[in-house]
């Protein structure tokens, strides 16, 4: 009985009529993929759309300033750009930018270094973790600039005070992100590292740091943003360090001289540097590392 049944209903493979194998490859490619028009392609580029927005804003600025005709309140864009070029040519702005960036790099480097130390302490000992968590909870909500009056008393009028405030603005953001990045490294990857016999320093540098790099980079970005804003603000309060002020002081000074186009030129410079670092430096690092590695969408 059984074999008979099997004869009647036997599993069978019935090939489809339009057997794919018999058709030439890519014969049906045209309807599946079609090129977009040039206009669509250009509009698809983010930079093009954003440039357009900036151009429109520039035109609005110029039109309104010409209509207002009050350079003390709102100078025209052309005035601002002329002043910007003049100040660059006579060496004032480059010198101010130099001063600002030098202090910034000192503070940023010191803050990052301290953050690294604190994080190493935190991942190795429980009391270190508690210390980091407590300190971060306390100081993260405190704007770094509010420490400036105190810093002035402790370190005097000069670079050390600025560096102190900068360290405070960088340290907690970087340490917090690095630490949570280390904690987030997957158990599997840790086990792989242990499997290779990696311990101590080589384990941290070869497994933990690259694996936590997305968080570390976020921390560095936030730290940079805090530091940049804090420094410009601090320089507005006092800029005379070793006889030369920075960008913030440049803005403050020119306001006192009622040279408003120069104030705008200073602001534009601050924006330009901020944009360059955030979009050029950090995005390049991001593209070459975590995006290439698929660790960030």
């Amino acid at each position: 009985m059984k074999p008979k049944e099997a004869l009647i209903a036997k599993p069978q493979i019935i090939l489809s009529d339009g057997d794919i194998g018999s058709r030439p490859a890519h014969a049906n490619l045209a309807p599946v993929e079609q090129k977009l028009s040039t206009a669509e392609l250009v509009w698809g580029i983010g930079a093009v759309r954003k440039t357009l927005i900036i151009l429109i804003l520039a035109v609005l600025w110029q039109t309104y300033a010409v209509y207002l005709d009050n350079p003390l309140l709102f100078p025209t864009l052309s005035d601002t750009i002329t002043t910007l070029i003049d100040r660059f040519a006579d060496g004032t702005l480059p010198a101010r930018i130099g001063t600002t960036l030098k202090v910034l790099l000192m503070g940023y480097a010191a803050g990052t270094l301290l953050a690294a130390l604190l994080t190493v302490l935190a991942i190795n000992t429980r009391i270190g973790t508690d210390f980091l968590e407590t300190m971060t909870a306390m100081f993260n909500p405190l704007p770094a600039i509010s420490l400036l009056p105190l810093a002035l008393i402790w370190f005097g009028l000069g670079t050390p005070s600025l560096v102190f405030v900068l360290v405070h603005s960088v340290l907690w953001a970087v340490a917090l992100n690095t630490h949570s990045g280390f904690l987030g490294v997957s158990r599997t990857l840790r086990m792989v590292g242990a499997n290779y016999g990696l311990t101590g320093f080589s384990y941290v540098t070869r497994i933990l740091i690259p694996a936590a790099f997305p968080s570390i980079l976020t921390g560095l970005k936030i730290g940079w943003a805090f530091a940049w804003r804090t420094l410009i603000a601090a320089e507005l309060v006092f800029g005379v360090s070793s006889g030369q002020g920075g960008l913030g002081w440049f803005i403050f000074e020119n306001r006192n001289l009622l040279d408003i186009p120069a104030v705008f030129a200073g602001l534009l410079t601050v924006i330009a540097i901020g944009l360059t670092v955030e979009n050029l430096v950090f995005q390049t690092i991001e593209r070459r590392t975590i995006r290439k590695w698929g660790m960030k969408e």
Binding site: T188, M191, V192, A194, N195, Y196, G197, W293, G294, M295
Partner: protein, 290 residues
Amino acid sequence: MSWPAFERHVSQHEAIKMSETAVSGTMRGPGGARSPLLTVDNVTLRYKTPSLLVTATEDVSFNVARSDRFVLLGPSGCGKSTLLKGVGGYMKPAAGSICINGRPVTKPGPDRMMVFQEFDQLMPWKTVLQNVMFPLVVARKLSQKQASDIARAYIDKVKLTRAIDSYPHTLSGGMKQRVAIARGMAMQPDILLMDEPFAALDALTRRQMQDELLQLWDDTKFTVIFVTHSIAEAIKISNRILLLSPHPGRVKAEVVNVDRASMGDGSAADLEREIHNLLFSEQVRSGATS
């Protein structure tokens, strides 16, 4: 001609004797020594959760000879993965001893390369080639040139040469597991430890990977301990199976000469049914009484 033998463990001594005779009857790798490569002796493993001390395995003994394809099989909760971690050196036994080549296992090391189930075991910041080279450079202290040559050879073995400079996130799950296997094998460890390496793959890829693993074994006759909860996979891959019972994990039986079971004459299906009955007999019985 020896058929798959299948016996309950009466005592630990009998178990060892049984598996040794089994090994002498089966295929052996070149230079296979008589003494077992790995001995696990009355091992009890415990781990802590925030509120509990869990006994994962209790009084488990087995040994693995060179070129064995040894499978730890059991339902979830039988401590098979924990046992593998013990052999890997990630856990210290609460009692008993684990020895490899006569040396006790105390910590993880490159003589026991692990292949995990998770796809994130590859380093996302390294290409396929760099991933395979990395342990050769850091653990075996080879030069870049030597490491690269060995790595390329093993990547070729797992048929990934065309993806050699790709980053892991661009690979499929099966390809990632192949990289992990190549990485483990390239180190030429004493034992390759595989913790459900194909569990996260789709069924078709899984079968393909099992075939490829067997082909690789035919090539190099490496020793492997393989953890799985699939009876069919265990029968397909292994020459010996250790059956574990759950809560806590104890040795229930050992199946030897599994490689003599064949798909063609139905002996594999018979063996599968027999193992299934044995693993679930207690549940059936307790279900009937309640």
